[in-house]
C-alpha cells in the first residue's frame, strides 16, 4: 500500500517540541533509524505505534491518519490531469514527494489552482453573458434601431432640399428623438460594462477544440470529400471496412474476449493490429474501423484543416482536434452526407428509425446531425450536449444563441437533466430563456450495454437542441404547440447568469445582480 506522506508533520511537530530523533526513539522503544524512516515516509505506521507516537508528540492520533494529505493529493492529481499539456503530466507519485518534501509549495499550488478555477468560471460566465444578457441584448437592438433611423433620415434630409415644410419638420423631430434615445442606450451600455472587458480565448485543450469546431460550424467539406472519395457507397458495412483495412493497409481486426481497457479500440501500429473491446456494439465496431481508416487515409486533409486554426494554440489542443476530425471523417464514411441528410429529413430526425435504417448508434447519429451544414443541403442546426450521471457536461456543441456552460452544470431545468430520471425515454421539451427565446430540447438517458457481470454501466444523457423555428422538422415536436404563445418551460442559461430571481431551483446567486 502506498503510504500517505505524514512524515513531514511528525518531523515538524518533533522539532517544534525540541525533541531529538534519539529521544523520540527512546520514548517509543524503537531504533533511531526507524524514526528517521518514518519521518521520510519510508515506513507506514499504524496501530499502537501510531497512538504512542501521537501521544509523545502531543497530537490527536486522528491528525496522523493522512486524511488531510489525501485531500491535498487528490487535488494535486486533479491539477496533473486537467491543466497540463498532454505527455508532460506529472506522475502521481511525484505529488507525494512534493507534499512530503515541500508542503508549503504543494499548498501554494493548490490555492493557485482554486483561484484559477474560480476565475475560469467567472470568465466563461462573462462571455456567455454577452450572448444571454437581456439588458445587453435590448441595448444593442435599440442602438441599431436608432442608428438606422438616424442614418436614413439624415440622408433623406441631405438629398431632398425641396421637401415640404411639414415633412421636413417631421424628419427633424425623428432625428431629435432618436439622438436622445441613442445617448440613453450608450449610457446603459456604459454602466453594464463598468465591470470591465473580458478576454475569452479557450483555456484548456478541450475548450480550444470546442471553439475550433464551433467557429467552423462543425462542417468540413474537405473531409466529406475524402470520405466520399474512398468509394464505400451509401452504407458501408463492417465487413467492407475490415476488408479495406486488411487489403489496403495490412491492418488486421482483432476481437478479444476480455478487456479492461477503457477505450473502445486500441491500434498497435507495429503489429498492424486493431483491437476492439468485446463490449463494443456492432455500430461501435463499424465506427472504430472507419475511424482507423480515417486516420490512415485522411491525415493530410485533417492536418490541413488544423494547420492555420487560430483557436488551436496548444499542442494538446491540436492533438485533440486531430482526433475529433478523425471521428468526423469516420462519421462521413459510415454516414455519407447526401444520403444521410436525405434520410434524416425524410424520417424527420427520428433517431430510432434512423438507427434501424443506418445501423449507427444514437450518439453517432446526433453527432452527425450537428455536421449537416453543407450550403444548399443544410439539416436542422442542432446544439448537442452529453452529461454524465454526476451532471458534468462531457460533450458540448453549442448554437450561437444557445451558449453552453464550460464549467459545472447548465440550468437544472434543461431536458438533459430531467431525462436522467427516466432512462431510455425520450424527453421533448420547449424551453424558454429569460430573454424570451425558445428552444426545442430532446434528451434521453442511456445505460450502455455491459459485457460482463459486475461491470459498472454509468448512465449518461444525450441532448439535442434547436431553435423553435426548426422544431416542426422533427418528429418529436408532433402534437406540441410550437407557436410563441404555446406552453414552455421557463429555464435559464446557468444560475450564475440567470435573472430569474424567484426560481425555486437556484443553486447559486446570479452575477448579474452584483454587476449592475
Amino acid at each position: 500500500m502506498a503510504t500517505l506522506p505524514i512524515g513531514h508533520r511528525i518531523r515538524a511537530q518533533r522539532r517544534e517540541l525540541g525533541i531529538t530523533q534519539t529521544a523520540l526513539a527512546k520514548t517509543l522503544g524503537i531504533s533511531v533509524s526507524y524514526v528517521n524512516l518514518i519521518e521520510h515516509d519510508k515506513r507506514s505506521i499504524g496501530g499502537s505505534l501510531l497512538n504512542r507516537l501521537a501521544e509523545a508528540l502531543g497530537i490527536e492520533p486522528g491528525a496522523l491518519n493522512g486524511a488531510q494529505e489525501r485531500r491535498v493529493l487528490d487535488e494535486l492529481a486533479e491539477i496533473a490531469a486537467g491543466t497540463v499539456e498532454e505527455g508532460t503530466s506529472p506522475h502521481p507519485e511525484s505529488a507525494r514527494d512534493l507534499l512530503a518534501r515541500h508542503e508549503p509549495w504543494a499548498r501554494a499550488l493548490l490555492s493557485l489552482h482554486r483561484a484559477t478555477k474560480r476565475d475560469q468560471g467567472t470568465i466563461s460566465a462573462l462571455s456567455n453573458r454577452l450572448n444571454q444578457d437581456p439588458v445587453l441584448d435590448a441595448s444593442v437592438n435599440d442602438m441599431l434601431a436608432s442608428a438606422t433611423a438616424i442614418r436614413s433620415v439624415a440622408d433623406i434630409l441631405a438629398d431632398a432640399p425641396d421637401m415640404e415644410q411639414d415633412q421636413r419638420a417631421r424628419f427633424d423631430a425623428i432625428l431629435q428623438e432618436e439622438a436622445t434615445r441613442l445617448s440613453d442606450v450608450a449610457q446603459t451600455l456604459a454602466r453594464a460594462f463598468e465591470a470591465g472587458q473580458t478576454d475569452v480565448s479557450g483555456l484548456t485543450a478541450p475548450e480550444e477544440v470546442d471553439d475550433f469546431l464551433y467557429r467552423r460550424s462543425n462542417h468540413f467539406p474537405a473531409l466529406e470529400e475524402v470520405a466520399q472519395g474512398l468509394g464505400f457507397g451509401d452504407a458501408p458495412d463492417t465487413a467492407t471496412l475490415a476488408t479495406f483495412l486488411e487489403e489496403r493497409h495490412d491492418v488486421a481486426l482483432h476481437r478479444i474476449t476480455q478487456n479492461d481497457a477503457p477505450r473502445a479500440s486500441v491500434f498497435d501500429a507495429d503489429n498492424r493490429r486493431l483491437t476492439v473491446a468485446p463490449s463494443a456494439a456492432p455500430a461501435t465496431l463499424r465506427f472504430e474501423l472507419a475511424r482507423r481508416i480515417a486516420m490512415l487515409e485522411a491525415t493530410e486533409a485533417i492536418e490541413a484543416e488544423i494547420a492555420d486554426a487560430p483557436e488551436l494554440t496548444s499542442e494538446a489542443g491540436r492533438i485533440r482536434a486531430m482526433r475529433a476530425l478523425a471521428a468526423y471523417t469516420a462519421a462521413a464514411i459510415t454516414m455519407p452526407y447526401a444520403p444521410f441528410h436525405d434520410a434524416a429529413e425524410t424520417l424527420r430526425y427520428d433517431i430510432d428509425a434512423l438507427t434501424v435504417r443506418i445501423g449507427a448508434s444514437a450518439e453517432q447519429l446526433c453527432h452527425r446531425f450537428t455536421t449537416l451544414r453543407r450550403p444548399g443541403a443544410e439539416g436542422v442546426p442542432f446544439a448537442m450536449l452529453r452529461a454524465n450521471a454526476a451532471g458534468y457536461l462531457t460533450k458540448r456543441f453549442p448554437l450561437p444563441r444557445l451558449p453552453m456552460p464550460r464549467h459545472g452544470g447548465a440550468c437544472p431545468l434543461w431536458a438533459v437533466y430531467s431525462a436522467m430520471q427516466t432512462p431510455d425515454l425520450r424527453i421533448a421539451r420547449i424551453a424558454e430563456f429569460p430573454n424570451g427565446e425558445r428552444f426545442f430540447m430532446l434528451a434521453r438517458a442511456t445505460r450502455p450495454q455491459a459485457s460482463a457481470y459486475g461491470q459498472t454501466r454509468p448512465t449518461y444523457t444525450l441532448m439535442l437542441a434547436c431553435e423553435i423555428v426548426h422544431a416542426d422538422r422533427l418528429i418529436y415536436s408532433d402534437g406540441l404547440d410550437l407557436g410563441s404563445t404555446g406552453r414552455a418551460d421557463p429555464v435559464g442559461p446557468t444560475c450564475l447568469l440567470c435573472p430569474r430571481a424567484d426560481c425555486a431551483h437556484r443553486q447559486e446567486a446570479s452575477i448579474r445582480t452584483n454587476m449592475r
Binding site: 433611423a149 442614418r151 436614413s152 440622408d155 433623406i156 424628419f171 442546426p381 450561437p400
Partner: protein, 126 residues
Amino acid sequence: MGKRVLIAEDERNIAESLRFLLTRAGHEVSLALDGAEALVMVRRMQPDALVLDLMLPKVSGFDILKQLRAEEETRTLPILMLTAKGQANDRQTAQDLGVDAFVTKPFANDEVVAAVERLLNGAAHG
C-alpha cells in the same frame, strides 16, 4: 412602374423613412407595425414585395417567413429581410427559410431601395 410594397417594421421611425424612400421611388407603400398585422396585410393586399424586419412583436420575422413560404399564394413573394450586423446565424436561418435578399441595419438608403427594385424586377428570385 409603381408596385405595391409592404413594409413590416415595428420601429416607427425606420418604417417612416422607408415609406418615404419607396414612395419617392414611385411605389405604393403600406406599413405593418407588428408581425400579426403583417400577415393579415400580406394576405389582403397581396403586395409585389415585402420588406420584413427580423425582430417583430407578436409574430417574429422567421415565423412570418415560414408561414408565407408554406402558402401557395405567397410562396414566391419576393422578401427582403432587414437584419442587424453581427447576426450571421440569423441570416443563415432566414436563408434556410427561403428569404430572397438581406439588408443589414444600419443601411444606406440607396442600398435598401436598390435591393427592393432588384426584387421587384425578379432579379433575385428564379
